[in-house]
Amino acid sequence: MAAPATVEQVLAEREGLAGRGPAMASLVAAALLHVALAAFIILLPRLMPPPPPLEYVDVQVVPAQRLGAQRPAAPQPDTPRQQPPHPSKPEEEPPAPTAPVLPVPRPKTPPTPPTPPTPPKAEKPKPAPPDERIDPTTRPKLLPPPRELLAHKLPPPAAPTPPTAAAPGAATGSAAGKAAVGSLTVSLENQDFTYNYYIAQTQSRIEQNWTRSPVGEARARISFRIHSDGSISDLTVAESSGFDTFDLAALRAVQNAAPFPPLPRAYTASHESVSVYWIAR
């Protein structure tokens, strides 16, 4: 490795030994200098103080009430991101003591069915956030191309959702005025999923990918399931428009819009996924 040696010499010379170069020194001095330089360069990284440790505790809380009203004695580290691992660091956060942040379900939300109290203990031990980070290039579930989905056109699922009138409590599309292009409805089985922002986001994304096939009056109901990480599955035409091109384009709109944002953390504490319909018209 001739190259690195020369680099190190040059580096070291320029980093403080310039002027004292071995040019006029004897062979012995040069040799000594080389040894010193080597030692210096090898030891330098170890002598330098390590970068300030990334020391914070990052806790997943399923909240329900007033901010700061109930402060736990100690947090429950969910992803202790300490880096680099420093053996003798005295300031490390103590590992998760007991008191978790208690999510108290608000008493004042009668419309929703009795939501499970979502104890934090039941929280799935999520890996570090980077793991659940969505990589748009790798979809967890590869969906078959739309044409295949069409081929296996399924009968509408059991839930007899009223086509236009949204189920009570279920949030509809991003804006009422957009009903002309379609609307997203939460299926009856997940009626407690009332996050308007999420429905609006999902609807908006599908719309961005929706290229309506010009077949005149048409209406199709596309059903699919959104998982906690925003990926989708079970994409099918629940009610065909009668036009294959229209159905295909509607399927493609949903498929291209996915993955969607992760489901609300507070919801996935007790649910795996949510089943929705998108009405293309």
Partner: protein, 507 residues
Amino acid sequence: MDSTPEPSLRPARRPSPLAAVPAAQTALATLAVIIASTVGIALLAAVPPAAAAQTAQAPPAPAAPAPPPAAPPATGTPPPPGVPGAAQQTPPSSFTIETNRGQRPKIKLALPAFHPGDLSGDLAAAGGELEQTVRADLDLSGYFQIQGPEAFRQPPLTGDVERDLPAFHAAGAEVVLLGDTHAEEDKLVFEGRLIDVGSGKAILAKRYRAKSTVTRRMAHTFADEVVRYLTGSPGIAMSSIAFATDRTGDGRKEIFIMDYDGHNQRRITNHRSTSMSPAWSPSGDAIAYTSFLNGYPGIYIADLANGRKRAVITSGSLNITPSFSPDGNQIAFARSLEGNIEIFTCDRNGGNLRRLTNSPAIDTNPAWSPKGNMIAFTSSRAGNPHIYIMDAEGANQRRISFDGTYNDGAAWSPDGDHLAFTSRRDGRFQIAVVDVGTLETRVLTAGPGENESPAFSPDGRKIVFTSRRSGVKQLYMMNAADGGDVRQLTDAGSNDMADWSRQNLEK
């Protein structure tokens, strides 16, 4: 560590006169989207233009007036590659880069002042910085239309989510972000939560505790989490930008890095020579660069974990402009051979040297595509410097840029669909973006100031570039879609040749 904290992110002069009129810009961008989608329809379904026009109006344009009905039918036929289509009749800065995906409406986010808790001294300052940083990150992301804090001061909020919801609702917010800071021993504790305004339900809540030295990191982490939960896309608040600067004096140039928002600028090299052209390794663990350390330019790598630098290629008379392959194992660079400059690749340790180009003209400035299968580079084989791409083995070399008299410094978008580059138009250097598939080119900057050396953010939504618009070369960032939202990142010395890390980094 030589850190040079400096105020940054101050709003900069917008490059385009058109950008000063956001409404007009939005309308034009929307128009462009609609035109593009019309073309898409024509391609997909082969429908008559009239029907396409009708369909194009079916998806409601986000927050924009109805498009002029005359435009869409004109685009019944797709524009031939490289030839400006009907869409290019309008000024270039009005285009959106993701014509196929369109522009999503911004999420209306209420962001009242954080509840400051019982902070004092250092922690109070840290709490303030935390709030400021979260706010700045979310604003910079471009995903949100942020309301507050002023909007929610009068009448004051009660602190009870349920009782405050009507105020957020009245402000038209879809989501509200509530923050609470307080002290625990000598540490700052931050609790942030997102609430769906429509239902009053919590979306997400996170609690962080740290010493005040990592306040910004805490804020960036939370901001990225908010972006991810509300948009499904990863944030970039933990990414970094490497650049070359002369701020150390004596005409030398050193490699520095900084946080994506211009904070925390710090030295990487101390060669007391001329070091430039930094290139991030894909994982962010190292930076390759060019240095005149040995008197002639060679390729070096700085290992960021331990600060060590080592030579990769120093043989020959000139080795410049390195670029990592996406697997991080190889480096493409320009190398002088018998007086002529060609593109070479080598392993990360300098072995396995291979020559890719062989032309009597100058071939330089390679940029390895994110998928690894292509390398973009600059060549003067057609007389003037222009952007070319080739397979990563050197085959299939083809020209990408046709407009302008000087095109150089190509940088890939993370999805590999676009190249940003420096383009001289009407005697001035501007940042242009070309769609590698269609060769449709847009110019993102305008006016004087020599805008050059672009690099995409990890999410492809921003471009960092050099501009002399303030008199001295400084780094700026702007929206990759339309060149809007320009912000200055540096102001110490002269700064140039920025490269944006390929992902968020654990700093």
